[in-house]
């Protein structure tokens, strides 16, 4: 077998994060290589380097013998590297055929688009890979289901000239029947001698479809094994390395008084949501991405509107119509995407940490700098934020330290209820454990905490009780002693029987 894709000692760094360190791997013709690793392990970075979205800092990439280390996205495509993205960009108001050929429409004389040729090509590709009848070449982009959009993205990749196809989480929007068809197609691509990269969190699928597995952890390759010679357990061990999460045990600190009481809440996303969180309790929210958990946090926090329902804080009904109302009602919210919604990256640590308590630190609207440092400094030290000074720009800190600054903001505010949406997303393992200890400590001091997490071990380790959201509805709470990964997953997928 000859390598069609050869990655040699590739490295890439971003401000505050070393995303990939000296990574080498190969894909042979007719071989399926799976990339696995936790969120932030470097899988996406590698894919983005290969497809030309990022330029590498060091190393070399060769595709079918030709060097493509610094290819632009267009050059990478032309060279034969095709990425099937997890969330494809579909133009809503043009046809499927045009979507497939977007940017590369076949032309006739005078630059006119050759619609019949496009249509014929799309239908030929559909028939060849066993998807005939699943997609109408003339349908508009906006009419497609998620699975059909994904198929359009696959067709884009399979246009002539393809040498290596990379699938990024290809099954996240597919039913099991569709997954079977996808696997049949991959088998066909293999037989045609293409190189295939398969990135997924779903280890069972990875074991079923791949020939070799590359394991990444914190940007470093921790394993590169033939699938036949390994087991799921070994892969998990290589992915996680230190078993920090499983070492974390939380003593229950729940107290009788109810802090948050939500009754019959309805909104654009939610149907009849009711739940309570006690002082000192951590309530975990499980569910699939897109089930409505982030939206629920934002409805409670006043960022999105509710259509009906009652929200009480410590027994008092609150009419929360904007985040400022929520803060006044002693609620704090650390959003999922800290760079987009949490932090002001160009401003200093102290400003970011003091943002929610400015009014408290001022008299007649005039800030007292000394007070600001007094209020925020101890919190920053307590969280062990690694920063040269309080005046450092937050954008220059590492991911874990940035997340701590978001938490510092709410610690300084001292809310009764703290909502944490994916509190350890894109945070390295060491910082993760520190954040767990911090959340645990806050709860033991009497704060009510709502944790949304898509990482199962995190959810199980942190939560006193777990509720699962599916299609905007909430399951009854599962007590810690009854909570297993299988139980939560089946509630999230709607496959299990209700308790």
């Amino acid at each position: 077998m000859t390598a069609i894709l050869d990655v040699v000692a590739v490295g890439k760094a971003f401000p505050g994060v070393r995303a990939l360190t000296s990574l080498s791997m190969q894909v042979a013709r007719g071989e399926v290589v799976a990339f696995v690793g936790e969120n932030g392990a470097g899988k996406s970075t590698l894919l983005k380097i290969l497809c030309g979205d990022y330029t590498l800092d060091e190393g070399q990439v060769r595709l079918d013998g030709a060097e493509v280390s610094h290819a632009s996205p267009l050059e990478a495509r032309r060279a034969g590297f095709r990425l099937v993205r997890q969330e494809p960009e579909i133009v809503p108001d043009i046809s499927v055929a045009e979507n497939v050929f977007v940017g590369e429409c076949p032309r006739r004389a005078l630059g006119r688009v050759d619609f019949p040729a496009m249509r014929a090509e799309v239908n030929a590709l559909l028939a060849r890979y066993g998807f005939a009848g699943m997609l109408d070449a003339d349908a508009l982009g906006r009419s497609l289901s998620p699975a059909q959009m994904h198929l359009v993205e696959i067709l884009r990749a399979l246009k002539p000239g393809v040498k290596v196809v990379a699938f990024d989480e290809p099954t996240s929007s597919l039913t099991s029947d569709e997954v079977a068809r996808l696997f049949a197609m991959i088998a066909k691509l293999k037989a045609e001698g293409l190189g295939i990269i398969y990135v997924s969190h779903r280890l069972k699928e990875v074991m079923a479809i791949s020939d070799r597995i590359v394991v990444l952890k914190d940007g470093v390759q921790t394993g590169n094994l033939p699938t036949a010679d390994t087991t799921e357990n070994e892969i998990v061990r290589l992915m996680v390395g230190r078993e920090l999460i499983h070492n974390f045990k939380r003593a229950e600190t729940s107290r009788p008084e109810v802090v948050l009481d939500v009754q019959g809440l309805n909104s654009r996303w939610h149907r009849d949501i009711s739940f309570r969180i006690h002082a000192g309790e951590i309530l975990g929210f499980g569910g699939l991405v897109g089930a409505g958990r982030t939206e629920l946090a934002k409805v409670i926090f006043g960022e999105f509107a509710k259509s009906s329902g009652i929200v009480r804080i410590s027994g008092v009904e609150k009419n929360i119509r904007a985040p400022s109302d929520a803060i006044a009602a002693d609620i704090g919210f650390a959003p999922e995407n800290r760079k987009v919604e949490g932090l002001i990256l160009v401003r200093s640590v102290i400003e970011n940490a003091a943002l929610a308590v400015y009014a408290r630190l001022a008299r007649h609207g005039i800030l007292r700098t000394a007070r600001m440092a007094e209020a925020v400094g101890p919190v920053i030290r307590q969280l062990e934020v690694k920063t040269p000074s309080l005046a450092q720009e937050v954008g220059k800190l590492s991911g874990g330290n940035q997340q701590k600054v978001v938490l510092a903001r709410w610690l300084a505010a001292g809310p009764k209820l703290l909502i944490l949406d994916e509190p350890t997303r894109a945070v390295d393992v060491g910082a993760k454990a520190e954040i767990y200890r911090l959340i645990d400590k806050l709860a033991s001091e009497g704060m009510a905490i709502m944790v949304i997490s898509s990482e199962m071990p995190e959810l199980l380790a942190l939560s006193d009780r777990i509720v699962v959201m599916r299609d905007g509805r909430l399951s009854p709470p599962v007590e810690k002693r009854d909570a297993t990964e299988e139980r939560i997953v089946s509630l999230a997928l709607g496959t299990g029987q209700a308790a």
């Binding site: 971003f14 994060v17 987009v340 002001i344 160009v346 309080l390 903001r409």
Partner: protein, 344 residues
């Protein structure tokens, strides 16, 4: 962890000016040396007096523009607002004979027009550039409509004229300090205080740096914009009042055209970022001074106006390009540092 307050005056001055503004000061010194070696008239007290007086109008507008740009907005209508204020102020002074009433009316019309900008941006959800480009035209039209027959309104009031060409501390050959310049210094100090020491000012930086995060931290963005554009409008109104006093007439257009370009250039040259979240009143004021010296130097050296217009345009591009380049350089440096093993 925290910066210790430095006791000696040099350090205090440096902290007030800000290390990031040092390059502006160096550029200013170089420019002054260059011009002074070409023409000895530059350092004459009369010329310095003129520079101070000429700075005032652009400077007042640039203080407001600093708030607007730091909040990630833009206000193109400032010159037109100044035109409206000039006419309204002149009508008030010449008909009612009240100097205070004229100043008040000029500032008030500026505030109202600024509020209109904010309302368009907030509630009609029109992007700030487009909204103020529209009012740039509309407000200029209003200025002509208010002026009887669209002509300048003459003002004959000696007290009022002091605002534009008055001076104090003039002894012997020393021409004194222009009143308009003193007003600018007062407004700039107030602006510096607001931006650096008040909750409102810090919130302006926050909303400019990341509006989504600012909103989730409890900041009411719409209310902030009402204040910011009203302040920008009010200061533009005050600038219009000073134009009226200097020319002894309410001018719908002359004297207030192109002010938006100069003010925006000054703010970017002063270190503000196009994306918002960064910029200081001190930096803006240094840039206003630099621009005033440059313009004065070009006049003294007899460079024709047409070349000056080209130079002003180039300067705006340069100012923004320097800001973008600095940001990219900082990012690369940071990535290199990370790659070298630091994980901070």
């Amino acid at each position: 962890m925290t910066a210790t307050p430095a006791a000696d005056p040099i350090h205090r001055l440096l902290r007030f000016v800000g290390a990031e503004n040092l390059s502006l000061i160096i550029a200013l010194i170089l420019l002054v040396v260059l011009i002074a070696t070409q023409t000895e008239f530059f350092f004459s007290s009369r010329n310095l007096f003129n520079i101070g007086q000429n700075m005032a109008v652009v400077g007042l507008i640039a203080v407001g523009m600093t708030l607007v740009i730091v909040s990630a907005g833009l206000d193109i209508s400032v010159g037109s607002i100044a035109g409206c204020a000039s006419v309204v102020c002149a009508l008030m002074v010449s008909h009612a004979g009240s100097v205070a009433g004229g100043i008040g009316a000029g500032v008030a019309i500026g505030l109202v027009l600024g509020l209109i900008n904010a309302v368009i941006i907030n509630y009609l959800r029109v992007n700030a550039v487009v909204a103020t480009l529209a009012t740039f035209s509309a407000f200029r039209g209003v200025a002509f409509l208010i002026a009887p027959e669209g002509r300048p309104v003459g003002v004959l009031n000696e007290t009022f004229a002091l605002l534009g060409s008055g001076r104090f501390l003039d002894f012997g050959s020393f021409p004194g300090i222009p009143v308009a310049f003193a007003i600018l210094v007062g407004v700039a100090l107030a602006g510096h205080f607001v931006m650096s020491a008040t909750v409102f000012g810090r919130q302006v930086y926050s909303m400019g740096g990341n509006p989504a995060a600012a909103r989730l931290a409890g900041i009411n963005l719409n209310r902030m914009r009402l204040w910011i554009y009203a302040i920008s409008g009010g200061l533009s109104g005050l600038a219009g009042v000073i134009v009226t006093a200097r020319t002894s007439s309410g001018q719908p257009a002359s004297g207030t055209q192109g002010l938006e370009l100069e003010a925006i250039t000054a703010v970017f040259l002063g270190g503000a970022l196009l994306a918002g979240g960064k910029g200081t009143v001190v930096g803006t004021m240094l840039a206003v001074l630099l621009l005033a010296v440059l313009s004065n130097g070009m006049n003294l050296l007899g460079i024709p106006t047409f070349y000056q217009l080209v130079a002003k345009g180039l300067l705006l591009v340069l100012a923004v390009a320097i800001g973008q380049w600095r940001m990219a350089a900082a990012e690369t440096r940071q990535a290199r540092l990370t790659a070298a093993g630091g994980n901070l």
